[in-house]
Amino acid sequence: MEVPILKQGEYLIATFQAALSDADLNQLRSGLVQQVVKLRSRGVIVDVTAMDVMDSFASRTLREIAHMIRLRGAVTVIVGIQPEVAFAMVQLGLTLEDVATALDLEEGLAYLNQKFKNTH
């Protein structure tokens, strides 16, 4: 199932709807990396609230997305990781180092707004 990418002001928001296949994840990655410059976005929020399992591939893809988007000149925030998922992830050593995280969409937006507050 393809993940829709929504434009909200200066930000892009991608919300996972359900468990995604590896192909969907790859598609999301290329979609986001293309759109972020095309739509002149400064921030990207990936909402994973609906994911109840996070395997190593998904975790690596999220990290790659964040790194690629940084190279394209924007900031990524991963939001909505469930407590159980977070616990399982750290046990597997998937800690999404140097990727910003926030509790939910609202917090993610607040994080980006804070970050860009002085540059308006």
Binding site: P83, E84, A86, M89, V90, L103
Partner: protein, 304 residues
């Protein structure tokens, strides 16, 4: 000795073949005779047993009167178990006894010791009684020893089971007392950890904290480990995992109250503390958390 044990086993396994084996009495009859002997000499044997208990310095946690009272009931249950060969009553009594004496610090070796002493005292009285008739003594011992061993076994197992039950209960209690996740300010949680952290508790702590972060929408968490005496590699890794998992939920963790010993241990075992944000004491931790959250605490007036 070996021969006697063999015959004892035969007696247990093939109780109905005794007649064919040329025995003059069935073991049940021998047991009856034995029980009668033990009943008859109850006072004297019991006294002797209590003296032996005191001599060997068992049950030092109990007074002489208490030992005597317990000895009487143990003796009666013992004889009854020999007579009826029903061990349920004895088992229940052993459990009940254990329940009473465990809180007073009676050790396993003492309980096993007193039962073995009683077994010894009774065996000696049998030797004394049948010393003229060696064949009869042998047969009596054949009947007595397996039963006595079973009794000793039952009491010891009952005691150990009761102890394990108490330990389990206490573990449960500790787990329930475990650790509260407290909100001190909007978006600021504290988690004071006291006592020993084992992997199970660490897991529970982490789960509790993550749920707390979600429900309180916390941005900063202060974990205070002033009350943790020691930390090993596993626990340190658990702590690092807790910090990382909290970050995945968007919360920053500040660890406070690392004692000099723990600091030294962590450095010696080389735990990666790069991701941990540490402050000396809880007060400092809360102050830093407030700074991160943009709070400014100011006194409104001079303290009274």
């Amino acid at each position: 000795m070996t021969k006697r044990n063999e015959t004892a086993r035969e007696t247990m396994a093939l109780p109905n073949q005794n007649v064919e084996l040329g025995r003059s009495e069935a073991p049940s009859e021998l047991l009856r005779e034995l029980v009668a002997h033990l009943r008859q000499n109850r006072t004297q044997l019991r006294e002797e047993w209590v003296v032996r208990i005191t001599e060997t310095r068992l049950l030092t946690a109990m007074t002489k009167e208490e030992i005597f009272a317990e000895a009487t009931s143990v003796y009666d249950s013992y004889v009854e178990a020999l007579e009826t060969e029903a061990f349920e009553a004895l088992q229940a009594y052993a459990r009940n006894l254990s329940e009473r004496i465990i809180p007073r610090g009676v050790e396993t070796h003492e309980v096993v010791g007193i039962v073995l002493l009683l077994r010894d005292v009774l065996a000696r009285s049998l030797f004394a009684k049948y010393q003229t008739d060696f064949k009869k003594l042998n047969r009596i011992l054949d009947a007595y020893e397996p039963a006595a061993n079973r009794i000793a076994n039952t009491v010891a197992v009952g005691f150990v089971q009761e102890r394990e039950r108490v330990i389990r209960q206490q573990q449960e209690a500790i787990r329930e007392l475990s650790t509260p996740v407290l909100q001190v300010r909007e978006r600021l949680l504290i988690l004071p950890i006291i006592g020993v952290i084992d992997p199970q508790r660490a897991r529970q702590l982490t789960e509790q904290l993550l749920r707390g972060i979600r429900t309180n929408r916390a941005k900063v968490v202060v974990i205070d480990i002033t009350g943790v005496a020691a930390m090993d590699l596993t626990v340190a890794n658990n702590l690092v995992q807790t910090v990382e998992a909290s970050r995945l939920l968007g919360a920053t963790v500040i660890v406070t109250g690392l004692s000099p010993e723990i600091a030294q241990t962590l450095v010696t075992i080389g735990v990666d503390l790069g991701k941990m944000n540490t402050v000396g004491d809880l007060q400092g931790g809360i102050e830093q958390a407030e700074r991160l959250l943009g709070y400014k605490v100011a006194a409104l007036a001079e303290p009274q």
